[in-house]
């Protein structure tokens, strides 16, 4: 795609991306937050040790912003007196793991099938579309319930179920874009050069469709996190003692009236993560489009080589 093509020729280009991100305050904040979350996901369990499931009955339903029980309890504690801060940090791993894998696989499979369905005009395209229609017309939560009930709840099954229910969104979008892009002149030009179908689909069409998919993926991230939490709530998602942010929201729901913080902090974490992903995907979409990139590049700097314009 475009960015690798650039970095290959200019080793400084990679740093240029960082410099450009640093120029946009919002994008910078998003990057910092996401880095923090990822670090939590990787090192969290190791850092927090058994603080996560150690009940502390003196801290039951403890209100946040108090240091009476030490730093670990600054965000308050849940009904069993477990540190919310520690649970948030450790919960990042399962949450991000499940959501990222689910989004990634649904994007990959949906995008791939969409490319095939849009590019080939034959029966295959119809088969793919009808299957997608069936998945789409079936209530996704019901589908997830049935599958998880029969296969048994586990993290990998959860990822599969969440991915499958989201595939049609990517598939439909990809197909619609491919139908338009394939009629463009540069596709004919590539064909006239002798380019095979694989090259046309992956080198010429896919890079143009990809930014749309990434944007949808970033929005979909929140949907997947919440879908996972509702499955967990029904007892078919993640199983205790494992937990996710979604599961934390679900359990805290019953205490909203007297201990709002139990549901609030994980909810805020989901919101901020999704928001950051959105900001970043939006920024990247602009950056990845050579015709739009000037909007980012122009933001502050006004020096360098003049360009010829049409």
């Amino acid at each position: 795609m475009t960015i690798p093509a650039d970095t290959k020729q200019k080793p400084t280009a990679r740093f240029q991306v960082l410099r450009l991100i640093a120029r946009n305050k919002l994008a910078l904040a998003a990057v910092i937050f996401l880095t923090l979350v990822v670090l939590c996901a990787i090192f969290g369990p190791w850092l927090m040790g058994n603080l996560v499931d150690k009940p502390n009955f003196r801290a039951r339903n403890m209100a946040p912003f108090s240091l009476a029980q030490g730093w670990a309890y600054v965000l308050g504690a849940d009904t069993l007196g477990r540190s919310l801060l520690a649970r948030l940090i450790v919960g990042a791993q399962n949450t991000l793991g499940i959501a990222l894998f689910a989004v990634f696989f649904s994007m990959l499979i949906g995008g791939f099938l969409g490319l095939i369905a849009g590019y080939s005009r034959g029966a295959l395209s119809n088969v793919i579309l009808r299957v997608a229609d069936i998945v789409m017309s079936f209530p996704s939560l019901l589908l997830a319930l049935i599958v998880l009930f029969s296969l048994g709840p586990s993290v990998s099954n959860l990822v599969i179920v969440l991915a499958v229910t989201r595939i049609p969104i990517y598939l439909r979008t990809t197909r619609a874009e491919v139908l338009e892009v394939r009629e463009r002149m540069f596709v004919s030009a590539a064909m006239a050069l002798g380019a095979g179908h694989m090259r046309i689909v992956f080198r010429h069409i896919a890079p143009i469709v990809l930014p749309t998919l990434v944007t949808i993926g970033a929005i979909d991230f929140a949907t997947v996190v919440l879908a996972e939490s509702s499955l967990s709530f029904l007892g078919l998602g993640i199983q205790a003692p494992e937990f996710t942010w979604g599961a934390m929201v679900a359990t805290g729901r019953g205490y909203l009236a007297n201990a709002w913080w139990i549901a609030f902090w994980p909810g805020l974490a989901i919101l901020l993560t999704t928001l950051s992903l959105n900001i970043l995907s939006n920024w990247w979409r602009t950056y990845a489009d050579p015709q739009q990139r000037w909007r980012i590049e122009l933001a502050r700097s006004k020096k360098g080589i003049p360009e010829k314009r049409t």
């Binding site: 795609m1 080198r203 015709q291 003049p306």
Partner: protein
């Protein structure tokens, strides 16, 4: 025709206009201290090649420059003594359309395809609060009649795609003149049209000017169009005015070296001597034999109409030999582009055969087809869309080597790309840029570089130079001729412009409605055209205004 001068000021005056476009690279100066004026009833032609800043100058008058990236650094625009820069947005918007109107190059993309023509014309009236409802409709019909659309009462309820290119441009002109503006800015109004249609549009503009006393600012790169329209001319190059004066003086006695180059680049219709760009070597044995090629397009038109078929190419036969150039000339809709697409197997053929080195192209399997596509290349009509906007020039030019792996080692790509770019007159550092950063002419050169990358035997050029400036056209054709003589290439050169192929093609095929109307050696066609249609094509070139004195226009 002399313009009635206002005693003190001109109708519209632009003074010292400097516009910058900002980019990562810094400011690119699009126009630099440009000043001009126009009076009622007068035609000012801004002549220049792409990138010369002519469109920017006109867009500044309409306030159409996007800021950023554009930045108007200095300059004042005065309309009837009133500075436009001081006007508010509302006032300016009201002035646009009512007093100053603009028509654009591509009439299809400037008409909304989902509304009828009548709706869009009526909108002009309602937007400016002149008329609504039945009154607006009546006015719209009047306008259609005025710009020469037959049966306006019936056609007013049709959609843009139901009109031909020329008619769409007439409708655009109609919208522009609907509110009787005083100034009409025409940005390349005929570039997208066939020669014979172009002549009609230019006549229409002249007629409207005579009737309304319009001041026309016409932007064009086409010298013949400029000569046929202009009272005064300004010639722009790299954002500066290099020459200005009365049309006849500029054309017959150009002062600046740039203007001289431009005028010398013109293929003169009365020039009989030059055969310089035709192939010098003896043509070898045929490499491509096309035999009774037919192509139908199915036009299904709803439930009730019968399935009709468009016979796009009718029984076409010709041969191309090594080192030979065959010109296919015709207007849009003549089926000439279909021939190219069918020969490259981009579209399926209906019947007939085409033998390339004795093998039928239409019966080749995948392997053979790959070899064929290495030997036969195509340069497309539209350099704006024939390149992937997300690939760098390096990736675009080197793509043939990625596809045909045996041509060149990967280590040699960079040098060869540099060499090919040099061959078509571009610089090595251009390789890392993206297509949108180039002008149309430069993009077409890139397309030619890509076509040359796999050492083809035959290049099919579909309107390859039509989008280019005259001086660039000559350069590109010279380049093609040179490559042919050096590498023994053969060309099928498809164009609507007969004079262009005159010095380049060895044989010319004139097509109309899918069939061949004339097929002969180039000299014979020009010396003694057999068919009325060929003669019509030759005579469609616009004549200079000062020579067309037989039809004097009232001021």
């Amino acid at each position: 025709m002399t313009a009635p001068h206002l005693p003190s000021a001109h109708l519209l005056e632009v003074k010292d206009l400097t516009v910058d476009f900002l980019s990562l690279g810094g400011a690119f100066r699009a126009t630099n201290g440009v000043s001009f004026h126009v009076d009622a009833g007068e035609t000012l032609v801004i002549l220049g090649e792409s990138g010369s800043g002519k469109s920017v100058s006109a867009s500044a008058i309409m306030g159409l420059i996007d800021t950023p990236p554009g930045e108007i650094c200095s300059g004042t625009i005065t309309y009837r003594g009133k500075k436009l820069d001081d006007c508010g947005v509302e006032e300016r918007r009201d002035l646009n359309g009512r007093k100053i109107a603009m028509i654009f190059q591509d009439p299809l993309s400037h008409l909304n395809p989902v509304y009828t023509i009548g709706w869009q014309l009526a909108e002009v009236f309602s937007a400016h609060g002149v008329a609504t409802g039945a009154e607006a409709r009546a006015k719209a019909i009047d306008i259609l009649a005025r710009v020469g659309i037959p049966e306006p009462e019936k056609r007013i309820d049709q959609y843009p795609h139901q009109f031909s290119g020329g008619q769409r441009q007439r409708i655009m002109i109609g919208m522009a003149i609907a509110l009787h503006p005083e100034i009409l800015i025409a940005d390349e109004p005929t570039t997208a049209l066939d020669v014979s249609v172009q002549a009609q549009i230019l006549d229409l503009l002249k007629k409207l000017q005579a009737e309304d006393g319009l001041a026309i600012i016409m932007i064009t790169h086409d010298l013949e169009v400029a000569a046929s329209m202009a009272d005064r001319v300004i010639v722009m190059n790299s954002g500066r005015i290099v020459e200005e004066g009365h049309a006849r003086a500029v054309f017959e006695n150009p002062q600046h070296s740039y203007t001289k180059t431009l005028i010398n680049a013109l293929p003169h219709a009365d020039d009989t001597g030059g055969t310089g760009r035709r192939s010098t070597t003896d043509v070898g044995k045929p490499i491509l034999e096309v035999k009774s090629l037919n192509k139908y397009y199915g036009l299904s038109s709803g439930f009730f109409a019968k399935n009709t078929q468009l016979h796009a190419v009718k029984d076409l036969s010709f041969t191309v030999a090594k080192g030979e150039t065959v010109g296919i000339v015709g207007e849009s809709g003549s089926g000439k582009s279909t021939v190219a697409r069918v020969l490259l197997r981009l579209n399926d053929v209906s019947s007939g055969e085409a033998l390339f080195h004795g093998r039928d192209i239409f019966k080749m399997d995948t392997r053979e087809l790959l070899g064929f596509r290495r030997k036969v290349q195509m340069v497309f009509q539209d350099p704006y869309s024939s390149m992937n906007p997300r690939m760098t020039i390096f990736d675009i030019v080197s793509e043939p080597w990625r596809i045909h792996k045996d041509i060149l080692e990967k280590s040699g790509w960079r040098d060869r790309v540099t060499e090919l770019l040099g061959l078509v007159g571009l610089r090595p550092e251009h390789a890392d840029r993206y297509p949108h950063q180039f002008s149309g002419g430069q993009r077409q050169r890139i397309a030619i570089a890509r076509a040359l990358a796999c050492d083809p035997e035959l290049i099919v050029c579909d309107e390859a130079v039509s989008a280019l400036d005259v001086s660039v056209q000559v350069q590109v054709i010279d380049l093609l001729a040179q490559l042919r003589d050096r590498l023994g290439l053969a060309y099928i050169f498809i164009t609507h412009d007969l004079p262009i192929v005159r010095h380049f093609a060895d044989r010319i095929i004139v097509m109309k409605n899918g069939g061949i109307v004339e097929h002969a050696k180039t000299e014979e066609i020009f010396r003694n055209p057999q068919h009325a249609y060929t003669r019509q094509l030759m005579n469609a070139t616009p004549r200079p205004k000062w020579e067309a004195a037989s039809a004097p226009l009232p001021a």
